[in-house]
Amino acid sequence: ACSDGQQADQATSGDGETIAISGSTSVGPLAEKLAAKYETDVNVNIEVNQIGSSAGITNAMNGVSDIGMSSRDLKEEEKEAVEEVVIAYDGIVVVTHPSNSVKDVTMEQVKQIFTGEITNWKQLGGDDLEIVVVSREDGSGSRDAFQEIVGYSSGELIRNAIVASGNGNIKTTVATNKHAIGFISFEYIDETIGTLNINGVAPTADNVLNNSYALARPFLFVHQAGLHEAGEQFIDFILSSEGQDIVEEAGAIRLD
């Protein structure tokens, strides 16, 4: 369970070492898939704990975990304590109720919606329905990235926005409310929700890679300076093309 003592004999029994990973819930599923594949090839034991970016970074800093996962940028003091590796990119999609007739918006309109300047779908050519904004919580990596790219700050977010924690909750909220608009990771898109093109560009991995779709942010692994051999090898695996294939399969965006 941990890198310190308790399980020393277990970790070394056989030659399977343990890599303890913890952190972001959005990076977590991807890390689990990478680990599952890696474990079939190499005799190591990888533990992935999805407990949130900050908790993961903290764990990496104080040694509870070998590697922390983050979907947000590191703070200055964190950067001093740990090293970061970008393992993939994640696209962010603006989503609505599937019945919503509005399918295309400009980045400016997105900003106006989330800051409360546009409050009715009919202003965008849709039905006469009040817009209900659904945002992620303050501190979320998706939200940070989304706000930065769209160009508004947390203080400007419309006050009565629904705040949901996690992609899944936004998805459920938006899927059950005709009024709603929100944003989630590429990975979680399915037919229960409608997606919006931004400035006429569809949210696809290709469009992210060719820089025509702007809403994307990095997935990070962080670790202390002297990460053990097994950990280093795992990171190498992820960055290899085999690893990046898995990234793509999982619905995230490969680095190259």
Partner: protein, 298 residues
């Protein structure tokens, strides 16, 4: 018999030693919860008091300001205090009577065979994870409110109150039912023999006699309601406004902590712990009022 010696018999000596030891042991067990509380409170205060001790932020401001924008260093939790207050009172107002009446029904009115099935069924409700209550709220209650009250968003104070009231039920029903069942039969007989109706007997003799247990039920149910996060996050909407109606989205203190803790760092994290301090005070005051209430009636 052996009256020559004033000494204790050997066997009794052992018994007293055991007695002494066990009473010490029991005390230690009892103090453990105090110990835990002190540890946890200490932990929360240690984490949460820093921004105020350092003088960077004003605690009064923290309490009464209405802006909560951590990324811009604005920490005001007034809307959440109001939301917690309303949500708790609302849940109590619905959950306590329904729970208590259900308990009475099961203990006094329902045929034994029916109660035998229903009581465990209600206890089962206690084990359903709060996340699923939240999902239930989000998938059933929220759309229901949206559709029937013509709201743009069903995530609201009323949704929180309903979900919390439901979550309190198993605790209140189970603990009160046990208390009511433990009321001596002689009271029931005495009252019925005086020509009191079954209902009269229940409300005038049995419920008052079970008062202490019922209060425990309320305290435990309340604890469940105040401490609940996962279900509330899903149905509250978590908007940062001071609620003025039951249909407003709200963010109670607990959800604020649970919502942002996973990603918070630095001052933001400390402020979430400070929210915990406020929540604590809230719990302490509530428990204080309840214990006064229970003493007052005795």
């Amino acid at each position: 018999m052996d009256t020559t010696h004033t000494d204790m018999t050997k066997a009794n000596k052992r018994k007293y030693a055991l007695e002494k030891f066990s009473s010490k042991l029991f005390l230690v067990c009892a103090l453990l919860s105090v110990f835990s509380l002190v540890l946890i409170v200490g932990f929360v205060f240690y984490k949460g008091a820093t921004p105020f001790v350092s003088g960077e932020y004003s605690f009064i401001n923290f309490l009464f300001a209405s802006d909560w924008v951590p990324s811009e260093d604005k920490f005001g939790i007034w809307p959440m205090i109001v939301a917690s207050l309303y949500a708790t009172i609302g849940a109590l107002v619905i959950g306590v009577p329904v729970g208590l009446f259900t308990a009475i029904f099961l203990a006094e009115i329902a045929p034994k065979s029916v109660a035998k099935i229903l009581s465990p069924a209600i206890q089962l409700l206690a084990g359903i994870p709060s996340v699923l209550y939240g999902v239930f709220g989000l998938a059933i209650i929220v759309p229901f409110l949206q559709n029937n009250l013509g709201l743009a968003r069903g995530q609201s104070l009323i949704a929180v109150i309903i979900v919390l009231a439901i979550m309190m039920l198993p605790t209140i029903v189970t603990v009160s039912e046990t208390a009511i069942r433990a009321v001596p039969k002689a009271y029931r007989e005495g009252s019925l023999a005086l020509g009191a109706s079954q209902i009269g007997t229940i409300f005038k003799v049995i419920v008052p006699a079970a008062k202490s247990g019922i209060l425990a039920a309320v305290v435990l149910g309340l604890g469940r309601a105040i401490g609940e996060t996962m279900a509330v996050i899903l149905v509250a909407g978590n908007a940062l406004i001071v609620p003025t109606s039951l249909t407003d989205s709200v963010r109670p203190l607990t959800t604020n902590i649970a919502l942002e803790m996973g990603y918070a760092a630095g001052t933001h994290q400390e402020m979430l712990f400070a929210t915990g301090i406020v929540l604590f005070s809230f719990i302490l005051i509530l428990n204080f009022v309840l214990s006064k209430l229970s003493k007052g009636g005795q």
